[in-house]
Symmetry: C2
Subunit: 418 residues, 2 copies
């Protein structure tokens, strides 16, 4: 049975309650970009919902302040030091020492009318963990408030609805043993305790041949699961921003991401995320040996069917057998979409899923669309185009410059700006 | 507040709920003695208490059977793989794989009148973990029965008494910051949940400069503590038993233990346990370079003051500065004895303590004196003399032979036999 957490308990109680990819990226940052100054910015993309109306400033500060008190403990260091599923001793001792000493630095918080400005300035390595931590806090405070508006029984019904929906998904999973997935829902979870309930239930009900792992490092540790994740747009965006003023520099920065990542982790973590400036650019420019060596791609925006077809063509153009290469779909999945995608690409690509919000925040409420991104690096604004207009961010002139540099064909004259 | 475990919960729920030394010894066994056949035997040394009167055979079988279902999980493997406090990557991958696949083999159990015969035959590496596991099970079943004889309020008073006694110890510790110790009380704990309560309280109340670590691997992992321990009599006893019929072989086997241990772990785990066949033998025969290299000794039987003085003389005879060498007292400690010993040896040896039964089983009941030892190796009976007559075990003629071989001067003509 699900037991909701007491309201008095803090939302984040461990610095490893972050996506595993934060830790793999942290090593990348420490290896090459130790002194880059960045600013992470929180952004609510949910139309019609103004978080300042739901979240209490004092409570938010309490949660954020509490995170600043946290330290990585000895067992957590053991867990990371002992991680060798993606390569022997993948966390270097010097980086474990960095983590041992890490204290998340101060945030900037301002309630502006109904909106909330929350930013994290500092050295990249110091602030990067704030990303998924700030998202989980915002989500949980928002839903706590939504739940507080209900009666006791009303809340019970919410959990009952959540359990029913989870039950249906599990039934479908059991009927479709071809579906394999990892739980990627930390950042947009309804609450910490609900995520834990979902994960526990999946452990009990779904075969480990289907439920492969989890992005949440703490929960991986707690439940003996495989921590999952490679990297995020953060790398591409930051490296592009600090690359200088030339189109050549922009393009070169993206080759760097792939090369330096490969140097650091080799095949173990070789799932590329190509859509930061349009996947077409990456499919066009990745080399034959990269096509051969890298395990595959993660799809995170645009039409997943179109993406998969492009990925197959990419392999064909390099004479690589696509059937041995992986696609990890991770964009707004539902069980039905997963079934469709798996059927469509079965036998043509190795298909697996990073299943997030729909797993950990499906109790009847509208999920929020929140992001915390690097918005500035060494004083330069960052840009993301992605494979879908709605997800693009950055100042308009920079977006235009990036689009030209990467040969991106969409029309960016209208919306996407922050 | 302490919350006792539900009776329906199993006593052992993880194969790492064992002393850390079992795992360091397991590596030693796997490296050199993979195929030695042994028999572990449980023995109740408590005078006047017949366990068969207190422990129900069916319940005991349920607990033991449950242990046979347990497997080391992924997080536990990470924890061990990540253990580098005593040397880089001290657990070899092949041995972690052994642990991953380990299932404890069947036991032999027989209720004979009021006594219980419990033995574990099999390959040494397969059965060795049964030692501290069987002890914890026997203890907890016995004290559950004792508690069942009380009223609800009677039980509350037991826990209140336990808390008061623990509180006094903690107060004394705070007043004596020179005292450093590790918690060694897994094998004779009152119950799993009481040990956990004690450990949690120590974490909260006692500085990590005093509370250095813990022998229980699971609890080290759960509380971010340093797992503590090196080795036990098991190595000396087994190697002696399989050494053949000559006195020379017996003596040589003990040199082997030290040499092979050093080869495996070097300085990291170089705390010798010298008393298996009388500490005098070891003090007489350890070489100058061993005296220089090894960190120190654990004292586990006989008079601790006499032992410490002998240890100091041993270093003097080799021109080694005793003040830089360690003594770990671990035999039947109380806080008063610790204070006395620390005062006596302060500035002459580095003094620390392995504090067991008195920490985890001090609630007013008489502690049981239980052991599970290798009683047979490759068909030969084992022997232990130790520095005190009462702890000696083995068939009388073998005890005599060992005493002669190791130049042990005590009179073994009377009691110690099993």
């Amino acid at each position: 049975m699900f037991a909701p957490q007491a309201k008095s308990q803090r939302i984040i109680t461990s610095l490893l309650d972050v996506d595993f990819y934060k830790l793999t990226m942290l090593q990348f940052i420490l290896a090459h970009y130790r002194n880059v100054q960045v600013r992470l910015g929180f952004k609510n993309r949910t139309k019609g919902i103004h978080l300042g109306r739901y979240i209490d400033e004092k409570e938010l500060r309490q949660e954020l302040d509490h995170v600043m008190q946290l330290r990585v403990d000895n067992t957590e260091l053991h867990f990371l030091r002992g991680t060798n599923e993606y390569g022997e001793r993948m966390f270097r001792e010097s980086n474990l020492q960095f983590l041992k000493n890490l204290q998340l630095p101060a945030y900037e918080l301002e309630f502006k009318g109904d909106d909330i400005r929350l930013e994290f300035p500092g050295e990249w390595a110091d602030v990067t963990l704030w990303e998924t931590i700030s998202l989980a806090i915002m989500n949980e405070l928002y839903y706590r408030r939504k739940m507080a508006e209900l009666s006791n029984f009303g809340r019970e019904l919410v959990y009952a609805e959540g359990a029913m929906r989870l039950g249906k998904k599990i039934e479908t999973l059991k009927q479709n043993p071809n579906i394999t997935f990892s739980e990627f829902g930390k950042r947009r979870r309804f609450s910490k305790s609900w995520q834990e309930y979902v994960v526990q239930t999946l452990c009990q009900e779904v075969s480990p041949q289907q439920f492969l792992g989890i992005s949440n490092t703490s929960l991986a540790m707690k439940h003996g699961l495989l921590p999952m994740g490679t990297n995020a747009h953060e790398l591409s965006m930051t490296l592009a921003a600090i690359s200088g003023n030339t189109d050549e520099g922009l393009r070169h920065s993206q080759d760097e991401v792939l090369q330096q990542w490969w140097e650091l982790y080799g095949e173990g973590l070789s799932i590329a995320l190509p859509d930061t400036f349009g996947s077409d650019y990456v499919f066009r420019t990745m080399t034959k040996s990269q096509a051969q060596n890298w395990k595959g791609f993660r799809q995170d925006s645009g039409d997943p069917f179109v993406f998969g077809e492009k990925q197959i063509k990419f392999y064909q153009s390099h004479g690589v057998d696509a059937r041995k290469k992986m696609v990890v779909f991770s964009d707004g999945l539902t069980i039905d979409k997963m079934l469709e995608l798996e059927r469509h690409f079965r036998g043509r690509l190795l298909v697996t899923f990073g299943w997030g919000t729909d797993l950990t925040n499906d109790l009847g409420f509208q999920p929020l669309s929140l992001v915390t991104k690097v918005i500035e690096a060494n004083g330069r604004p960052t840009v993301k185009l992605s494979d879908t207009l709605e997800k693009a961010i950055g100042p308009r002139d920079e977006v235009g410059r990036y689009a030209r540099a990467f040969g991106y064909s969409c029309d960016f004259s209208a919306p996407p700006v922050y």
